[in-house]
């Protein structure tokens, strides 16, 4: 890039005339192409989402003479559908940016759902129903922190590869969740809990509002704090992070607790929505969470990704799944649709890497 002919703007800078003492800026035309490719790569989840919405809208209009996206019921359904995978994917985004992966999130969510159900029932015997709901949700999130802590200790202190450590916790959380649930679903008898899970504020479900606020907080944490900044640095170059004085061990411990607590919140909201806790609540959602992060522009090699990208990724999956049901296609096409989007997304990532050699933060 430094050997390319200078553009007009480069010639205009006074320092370009002193090649020996001057480290030239990247040529501007290369910069522009790179910016353009990076822009497409960064926005790819939103582009997918737009294309899918337009596609389904046309399909609905032509095939059924109906509207897809302008129907509030559809919007609500898609949003509710996206809540749990999005919460898991939010935690997963942090972990994947750090260069790891958390395979235990699905069953931590199930464990949290069972704990939320049990604790809400038990607490309801000695306090008001609404207090019992608060206690139940807090208990679910705190209990989710336990497997998260173990994951964090395994990865940070014992240097277990995240894939293996969290795979072990996948099994442990699964077993504990089923044991606690007695092998069945745990019904909750608490009207306030059901109201939280199914109620609406100006037609927006409470759980969607809670999820949206939570995602905003996580976006702040990732993009505006030292914790988030260190997360990017560790994902790109752990050696550099350590030499810069970042305590990688304590960072990783906090990171896996954080992702597990995201799954804890997802489990609690699941229990609220169905008035029941089920150990298998998050089973199909783990891979959706990874898919949402990857479609959202993160690289599985670590170092890149954003929360808003993940939001778009989660909605891409939700729109594919709900949209194909809406246009009355056999549900198995969902898997094919999501799979194709993942592959295209990774191809864009590869192309972008080849052109720019990396990605910037935020």
């Amino acid at each position: 890039m430094t050997t390319s002919p200078p553009t007009g703007e480069e010639r205009a800078t006074p320092h370009a005339a002193e090649p020996d003492t001057h480290v030239a800026p990247p040529a501007d035309h290369a910069d522009a192409a790179r910016t353009w490719i990076s822009f497409i790569a960064d926005m790819r989840a939103w582009l997918f989402l737009g294309a899918l919405v337009i596609g389904f809208e046309l399909w609905a209009r032509i095939g059924f003479n109906a509207t897809f996206i302008l129907n509030p019921f559809n919007l609500q359904s898609i949003a509710i559908f996206a809540v749990a995978p999005l919460l898991l994917a939010t935690g997963q985004t942090f972990v994947i940016i750090s260069g790891g992966i958390d395979l235990s999130l699905g069953f931590i969510m199930g464990l949290a759902a069972v704990v939320a159900a049990h604790v809400t029932n038990i607490a309801g015997q000695s306090m008001s129903p609404s207090m019992a709901v608060v206690v139940g949700i807090c208990a679910a999130i705190l209990v989710a922190g336990i497997p998260g802590t173990i994951n964090g200790l395994l990865v940070s202190r014992l240097r277990v590869p995240p894939f293996i450590g969290t795979l072990g916790m996948f099994g442990v959380a699964r077993g504990v969740a089923f044991l606690l649930a007695g092998g069945t679903t745990v019904p909750v008898r608490n009207a306030d809990f059901a109201a939280l899970g199914n109620g609406r504020f100006f037609n927006v479900p409470y759980i969607v509002i809670i999820t949206a606020l939570f995602v905003l907080v996580m976006h702040y944490l990732l993009s505006q704090t030292k914790f988030g900044q260190h997360n990017y640095a560790i994902g790109a170059n752990p050696q550099a992070a350590r030499r810069a004085g970042i305590n990688i061990k304590s960072h990783l411990l906090r990171l896996y607790i954080l992702s597990a607590m995201c799954a804890g919140l997802a489990g609690a909201l699941y229990a609220a929505r169905f008035s029941a806790g089920a150990a298998q609540a998050g089973e199909p959602l783990l891979l959706d969470s990874v898919a949402a992060v990857v479609i959202g522009g993160a690289s599985l090699f670590g170092g890149s990704g954003t929360i808003f990208g993940t939001v778009a990724g989660a909605f891409v999956i939700a729109v594919i799944q709900y949209g194909l049901v809406f246009v009355n296609v056999e549900p198995f096409w969902q898997f094919i649709g999501v799979g194709v989007v993942i592959i295209i997304s990774v191809l864009i990532d590869q192309a972008q890497r080849r052109f720019t050699g990396g990605r910037q933060d935020e």
Binding site: V23, N237, A240, G303, S304
Partner: protein, 252 residues
Amino acid sequence: MNSAPQNGAPLLEVRNLSKNFGAVQALRDMSMVVRPGEVVALAGDNGAGKTTLIKAISGVYQPSGGEIFLRGQQVSFATPQEARDKGIETIYQDLALADNLSIGANIFLGREPMKRFLGILPMLDRKKMADAARETMALLDFHVNRMDAPVSNFSGGQRQAVAIGRAVYWDAQILIMDEPTAALGVPEQRKVISLIKQLKAQGRGVIFISHNLQDIFAVSDRIVVLRRGVQAGERKISETTHDEVVKLMVGG
């Protein structure tokens, strides 16, 4: 050949430094000084003790014997961080940059400045990072128009400048550079040489390890040659030749 002061009080002085690894003596009775604005090259074959010496100076190794003086005061560093706090910065070949972050974010990695949004919410002060990066890089005559670009966008020599810029921003008085030109093409090597000249002009001390005699002769004031853990010779660059240095390196 250079007009920098040569006779000031030493910035760094190493006296009779030794380092043993078990029975192996990697460094024996090594002495050298670095004065402000002076560039000292360390040369020697593989295993001659160059890396051991710089690691002992920068706090990675604890010396087995000998003393280190910084501006006349005796110092000892338990960790590289302590050495860095005292103004001795080591720039390794791999540069230790987070490629996905901007120049500013790399300069401030681990010590990020914060501001308060609306007086309450703490947030990374990206503007301060970008401004500091722009000023620091300008000191090195490195001008870049996109401060938010990740450093992976830059070439090898530019990335070297970022690593040096980080040291300069945190006010390193002595920069130790391990093979700064080894992985670079010829034009990039020239840029790194000019960066070292900038550091010299700012009155900092530079120790640099290189295999490339051309680079050494282009920028150093003195050369210290090591062989098998001992000092094989020390010459002023203006008073020696390639041939003499090579003879010192290989012995005989």
